[in-house]
């Protein structure tokens, strides 16, 4: 187990370096210039001298290789530099947005787990009944419905319903408040996006739970457990579900890592100032330093989350632990 852990940790460094090189090159291959966007996106005129001064100020007039060395040297010291767009430390830019995305991701995950595992299990246990059909329809609808559409529809539904009931359209506040400052307002802001994202997430996990459970329920050891006269509750919870959860945990881990930086459209629809929106903005603005740091953050989260999933595997399945 220790050797396994050490080898996984050692793999992290070349993966990060590869990701760093890739994002550095890709950003510079995209046509565009942060200074042009900054100085001229409003359609106003500016001089060539102003453009040159802007290039010099943010350091993109230097050779690529020098910029790359700077970036790697900064990474080694956990110094991501300053945003080319705002001039603020990149860490500060990310830190102010990270809690928003994290909160939505955690809540969406909790909603997904709360829906997916019970419904997926029931669906498998009641295979080919009307209950199974209803759960599968619900899950297919979740996969087929784009989150952004669901988001827009849910806001409109809330507006129309409140207008019809009270005469005054209502929607949650459009500026985020941290949970510890105002829990009720915070939950009113975060709940709709979490449900919107959590539904699709639940749909994927639900299908995975159902198919894994169906597979496990046909295993010999389940038949043996039933033949021994164990209570059905114990057979399902202790023997079937625990084994069926292995692929489900993988899906949940991958989805969670994706949610941290991937809530791009949801954050736009609900006006959440999170990492996904920051990512789009930094790419749009051609803010190399910020984009590089964000990609490295998402890669790190993906790696860590995969490692945690592997460790969870070992807890669920003793064979992995012993191997």
């Amino acid at each position: 187990m220790h050797r396994y852990l050490v080898s996984r940790v050692l793999l992290v460094f070349p993966t990060l370096l590869g990701a760093a090189a890739l994002v550095f090159i890709l950003m510079r291959l995209i046509p565009g210039d942060i200074c042009l966007v900054r100085l001229g996106s409003g359609g106003t005129s500016f001089s060539a001298a102003a453009l040159a001064a802007c290039h010099a100020e943010i350091g993109i007039d230097r050779p690529w290789w020098l910029q790359f060395l700077d970036f790697i040297w900064g990474l080694a010291r956990f110094d991501f530099g300053t945003s080319m767009w705002s001039g603020k430390p990149v860490i500060q830019e990310i830190a102010s947005r990270f809690p928003v995305s994290l909160e939505v991701a955690v809540m969406a995950t909790l909603i997904a787990i709360a829906i997916a595992i019970p419904l997926g299990t029931i669906s498998a246990l009641k295979q080919n009944t009307w209950i199974d059909l209803a759960v599968r329809t619900f899950s297919i609808a979740g996969i087929a419905t784009p989150s952004f559409w669901l988001g827009i529809m849910s806001i409109l539904l809330v507006l129309d319903l409140t207008q019809a009931i009270s005469g005054h359209p209502w929607m949650p506040s459009i500026d985020y408040v941290p949970l510890w400052k105002d829990p009720i307002r915070n939950l009113s802001i975060v709940m709709l996006p979490a449900i919107t994202v959590g539904y699709r997430y639940a749909a994927v996990s639900m299908r995975m739970t159902r198919s894994a459970m169906l597979e496990v329920l046909r295993e010999d050891y389940i038949r043996t457990a039933r033949a021994k006269g164990l209570l059905e509750k114990i057979v399902i919870n202790r023997h079937a579900l625990k084994n069926a959860l292995l692929p489900v945990v993988t899906v949940i881990g991958i989805e969670f890592a994706f949610l941290i930086g991937g809530l791009v459209v949801t954050e736009q629809v609900f006006n959440l100032n999170g990492i996904g929106r920051l990512m789009v903005l930094s790419v749009q603005n051609q803010d190399y330093t910020l984009t590089q740091a964000l990609v490295m953050l998402v890669v790190t989260i993906a790696i860590v989350s995969n490692m945690l999933v592997d460790l969870f595997y070992a807890w669920l399945d003793p064979r992995i632990r012993l191997a």
Partner: protein
């Protein structure tokens, strides 16, 4: 057409009634205005170095300026009034010297008295920036020779030549007066901090989320501001802004929304929504890359402009897009703009479209370009780029030209323009205070204007521009400007003016005291705004 005219008259009447109503009401004190800033966070809070309206909508309430467009009459293009000065000066020295007296008793929010030295230092940073400092509007002040403060209450601007372009340039809404002592210590301080003398004091800033201000009790205009404070919330997505207005999460968005949004809000909320509308100092302009064949041939360029049916097309387009008015390269309604009789003499602005298109076809045939096809570069932004682009493609198809559009995100679009990797490009030319002599700078030859991606040189154009710039007699200047515009739009057809944008600001009817202007950059200090609830 009749419906459009009636609708316009109705809107004008509504605006007049609203104005009359506002004039009769006395402002109420108190309350916090929540408004939306239709963008993500601005790059910095420093108006001297940024060009985006996001910076103005974020920080303008914290600052004072030397002069400005009259906040009670912001629709005017010539009504300039003092903000920090005591009286608008009469120029001396044959129009080359302007002497401003600075108000007594003005204080920065930290209690430091504001003097002529602060005004001079701020303006010097804008007009003559030190090496390494960014001043994108520096070229607007090409006429300024020296700025001096002979004593603590006097600021003198000396010009290289007399020009009517100076005062409008001086009313730049970004020319915020900063504290000299702070600038001397760190010229970059204002990028991340706020210290002004405006109607509101800084209360908080969450990058990409919100900006907050509270009433400045020491503001030099007695009784103002009326609000206790304000909160600006960044909301880049239009649907969010409309929903927020509908649910009263925010009271106003100052930039402008498309006609459909106005209609949606009016339908949902009726009288609870008020609307102000204005021509916008932004124009959709087609730039032709004259280095690319066959666009080096003026006959081809003239054919392109002759094919556009502006008089019928623009009113139809105005129902779905943020455009409304047919005009030359000079803002419609400005004294330097051509009147309709003059305008109809310019190629592509005649009232007989069939005749124009016949002439366009003849020119194409003569140039051997009857089967012309090309790709038009366009910015991947809905309003009004995509709408105007689709309209242009349709108009050119009427004379047999096949055009496809290439939509690009802002960054790559700008880079493509700059690299000259296009044939025809749909652009926007937006400015703050209407100042036609400065606003037409992007149409000057490429060696003079870095923003002219047409890649042409034209000494005759420069001579015509020089005459208009240096002329101070209003009538002669109008004629000179018309000759310049006709040269750019017709004789050489360097630029194809498509339509002027139209600004529509729907807002909660309890917001009073704010008046729309032809620019979303100006009249944003919120000093006169109050809440009637």
């Amino acid at each position: 057409m009749k419906i459009a005219v009636r609708a316009a008259l109705a809107i004008a009447a509504t605006a007049l009634l609203a104005d009359a109503g506002q004039a009769a009401e006395s402002p109420k004190r108190g309350g916090t205005l929540t408004y939306m800033i239709p963008s993500d966070a601005p790059p910095s809070l420093d108006g001297h170095r940024e060009t985006t309206y996001a910076t103005a909508h974020t920080a303008a309430p914290f600052y004072s300026v030397l002069i400005r467009i009259n906040p009670d009459n912001p629709a005017s293009t010539t009504d300039f009034v003092c903000d920090l000065c005591t009286e608008m000066p009469q120029p001396t020295d044959a129009g080359k010297t302007y002497t401003f007296r600075i108000r007594d008793g003005v204080k920065f929010h930290d209690g430091t008295p504001l003097t002529a030295a602060d005004v001079t230092k701020s303006w010097q940073e804008i007009v003559f920036p030190d090496e390494g400092l960014l001043s994108p509007r520096q070229s607007n002040f090409m006429m300024v020779d020296k700025i001096k403060a002979p004593d603590p209450t006097t600021v003198v601007f000396s010009l290289k030549y007399a020009t009517t372009a100076f005062l409008p340039a001086l009313a730049d809404p970004y020319a915020w007066i900063y504290e000299k002592a702070i600038l001397d210590k760190d010229p970059h301080w204002y990028e991340k901090n706020v210290m002004g003398s405006g109607p509101f004091k800084f209360a908080g800033y969450e990058t990409g989320q919100s900006i907050e201000g509270v009433r400045n009790p020491d503001y030099y205009r007695q009784g103002q501001p009326y609000l206790d404070g304000f909160k600006g919330i960044y909301a880049a997505k239009q649907a969010t802004r409309i929903d927020a207005l509908r649910s009263d999460r925010a009271s106003i968005e100052f930039r402008g929304l498309p006609p459909a949004a106005r209609d949606e809000l009016k339908a949902a909320l009726g009288d609870q929504i008020a609307v102000q509308e204005s021509d916008w100092n932004c124009g959709s302009v087609v730039t032709i890359n004259e280095k690319v064949k066959p666009f080096d041939d003026v006959r081809v360029r003239r054919a392109l402009t002759l094919a556009i049916d502006r008089w019928n097309g623009v009113p139809a387009l105005s129902k779905i897009a943020d455009v409304r008015t047919v005009g030359s390269i000079v803002f419609p309604g400005d004294p330097l703009a051509p009147n309709k009789d003059e305008l109809t003499t310019i190629a592509g602005f005649g009232t007989d479209i069939e005749k124009s298109r016949a002439e366009a076809k003849r020119l194409l045939k003569e140039a051997g370009q009857e089967n012309l096809s090309f790709e038009m570069l366009n910015r991947d932004v809905d309003q009004p780029y995509k709408y105007v682009g689709i309209w242009a493609v349709d108009q050119w198809s009427k004379i047999g030209i096949k055009v496809t559009q290439k939509m690009m995100p802002t960054g790559p679009w700008m880079e493509t323009e700059r690299a000259g990797n296009f044939s025809v490009d749909l652009q926007a030319n937006c400015h703050a205070v209407v100042n036609p002599l400065i606003d037409v700078q992007p149409y000057l030859p490429s060696s003079v204007s870095a923003q002219n991606y047409g890649n042409y040189e034209d000494s005759e154009e420069m001579a015509l521009y020089g005459k208009a710039l240096h002329e101070t007699d209003p009538q002669k200047q109008h004629e000179a400007m018309f000759r310049f515009a006709k040269h750019v739009m017709d004789t050489q057809a360097h630029k194809l003016m498509m339509a002027w944008w139209y600004r529509i600001v729907p807002y909660r009817a309890y917001v009073k005291g704010w008046k729309i202007s032809p620019s979303h950059y100006i009249n944003q200090d919120l000093a006169t705004v109050w809440l009637d609830r």
